[in-house]
């Protein structure tokens, strides 16, 4: 079974290609950079196409079910009408899938499942990374705010920390937000 993969994110595409290739029955081909998706489909005659939903060219595969001299094996959108939750999960993960008309659901769905799981993993990694970066930024802001208090108001470190905490509780904000506000108010301002 030929699976054509259209995904511009190099690491994710590589991971998915590797994952699918563990199945000896599957041959994974990737769309080349700059290649028209429709051309790749014509050249590779895949049974299944996995497309990153962020790609604008997935509309090229929306050709209606028509058999003509140009579309001997029409590709159609994968839809499992009996499993809307799965379809929603796929969209949430950013994966869209197409298959040759008439392909068995049982042949196509496992491939899409694998793609959804992998896209989700990458999505989670990105989220985790963004969260880590945000936490790091917040730690830095808190440390800078404390340093400012120590310097400007001759506080000790525990006093500075307590000031931030008290202010956070009083205003219903998080300590990081209080720290940001203090830093924005600027050096020397008696905020």
């Amino acid at each position: 079974m030929n699976v054509l993969l259209a995904d511009d994110e190099p690491e994710r595409a590589r991971d998915l290609a590797r994952l699918l290739a563990t199945d000896p029955a599957i041959n994974v081909v990737r769309v080349r950079a700059g290649q028209l998706l429709a051309d790749a489909v014509a050249a590779q005659a895949p049974e299944v196409v996995i497309v990153d939903m962020a790609r604008p060219d997935r509309d090229a595969l929306e050709a209606v079910r028509q058999v003509s001299s140009f579309h001997p094996r029409p590709i159609v959108l994968f839809v499992d009408e009996d499993d809307p939750a799965f379809m929603e999960a796929a969209i949430g993960a950013g994966v869209s899938s197409y298959n040759v008309a008439g392909a068995a659901l049982s042949d196509v769905k496992p491939i899409l499942r694998a793609a959804v799981a992998l896209f989700r993993q990458h999505q989670q990694t990105r989220l985790d990374l963004r969260q880590s970066e945000r936490r790091l930024r917040e730690r830095i802001a808190i440390e800078r705010a404390k340093a400012m208090l120590i310097r400007e108001r001759r506080m000790t470190e525990p006093e500075a920390h307590r000031l931030l905490q008290r202010r956070a509780m009083a205003s219903g904000q998080r300590i990081a937000e209080v720290a940001d506000a203090l830093l924005r108010a600027g050096d020397g301002a008696k905020a």
């Binding site: 939903m53 790609r55 060219d57 509309d59 050709a63 209606v64 929603e88 949430g92």
Partner: protein, 342 residues
């Protein structure tokens, strides 16, 4: 109140949504709206189908396809209003078919010349449209067929995203395209192609984009829908005013990243070959126009002949929902005879 999630593409005729959001019309009406700029029509369609979007700027043939269930299970949609008329350009690559022109606005003659050129090529040339189920594709096919051509044989229709058509033409992958503004003017500005004619030459004042709303959302939120329509009416008035076009073009450039000068050309008062019309007659979602699109889809074999057009169009196209919003805004639509393609 959870925000209303509305999908749109990076096109000049998304203007009413962007204006209503950025210039406070939705806010004035107490609406919280989240615009979702999508890279493809398929994304918009999928998200509407599975409840990740509540509404969208949509192509009428695609809205009908969703209602008819051409992309899986039927997605019940309502089209209470149109958003724009015309605005698409048929563009040929530079140095391509120099004998094919559009003198004196004779679309039939231009079509015949183009068919003649297409048939004279060694292989059917590639012309791009933005989506198979688009006004662009259906109007192009109607035009070529009227001119004696066979749209399935004389050319190879390929789908290229609107923002990629200029590059596809520059690199020689396509001989022509039919796409929405600002891409026709942009191709011409960059010396990559020339605008042969606008789709308004094929069907004067044809409906282009519509507002499509998930039926389930509409029935659960009738007041929000009413406010949404009012906001878009206000935005439509502004978008339709040539005096505002420069501001609108700047806004679209900033929010959607569109090329400003080319966008300006396609807005009211601009000097593009083809211009978008907003407001007034554009607001009418006419069931007879929807029927034209549905019949065209049947003609090309995309929609079964046994499909019940009247029933599906009747339940989808709901111009009556606009009536109270129009009167609340103190607006009227001058009655206009429905136009038809030539």
């Amino acid at each position: 109140m959870t925000p209303i999630r509305i999908g749109l593409l990076r096109l000049a005729d998304s203007a009413p949504l962007v204006v209503a959001q950025e210039w406070g019309m939705f806010e004035q009406l107490g609406l919280e709206v989240q615009l979702s700029v999508e890279p493809s029509w398929a994304n918009v369609a999928d998200k509407l189908a599975y409840g990740l979007l509540d509404a969208a700027v949509l192509l009428p043939p695609l809205a009908l396809a969703l209602s008819f269930g051409l992309r899986g299970k039927p997605t019940p949609l309502l089209v209470p209003m149109g958003l724009s008329l015309g605005g698409n350009a048929v563009v040929l690559a530079r140095d391509t078919a120099p004998g094919v022109t559009h003198p004196g606005g004779d679309a039939l003659a231009a079509g015949q010349a183009l068919v003649g050129w297409l048939r004279a090529q060694a292989e059917p040339p590639r012309l791009a449209v933005v989506h198979a189920l688009s006004t662009h594709n259906l109007l192009l096919r109607h035009w070529l067929a009227r001119a004696g051509g066979d749209p399935d044989r004389d050319l190879r229709t390929v789908v290229v995203p609107p923002e990629q058509v200029v590059e596809a033409m520059r690199s020689g992958r396509i001989a022509g395209f039919c796409a929405g503004a600002p891409w026709g003017d942009q191709a011409q500005r960059q010396g990559v192609g020339r605008v042969l004619l606008g789709t308004s030459s094929i069907w004067p004042a044809h409906p282009e984009k519509c507002l499509a709303v998930a039926a389930s959302w509409a029935s659960a939120h009738p007041q929000a829908l009413h406010a949404l329509l009012r906001g878009l009416l206000r935005a439509g008035v502004l978008c339709g005013d040539p005096q505002q076009a420069a501001r609108v073009a700047a806004l679209l450039a900033s929010v959607l990243g569109l090329p400003e000068a080319a966008t300006r050309q396609a807005l009211p008062g601009g000097d593009g070959v083809e211009r978008i019309r907003f407001g007034d007659a554009a607001w009418l979602a006419r069931p007879e126009d929807a029927t034209w699109f549905a019949r065209a889809m049947q003609r090309w074999g995309w929609l079964g002949l046994q499909a019940d057009l009247a029933a599906t169009v009747g339940v989808t196209y709901r111009p009556g929902l606009l009536a109270s919003a129009l009167s609340d805004e103190g607006l009227q639509v001058a009655s206009m005879e429905a136009s038809r393609p030539f």
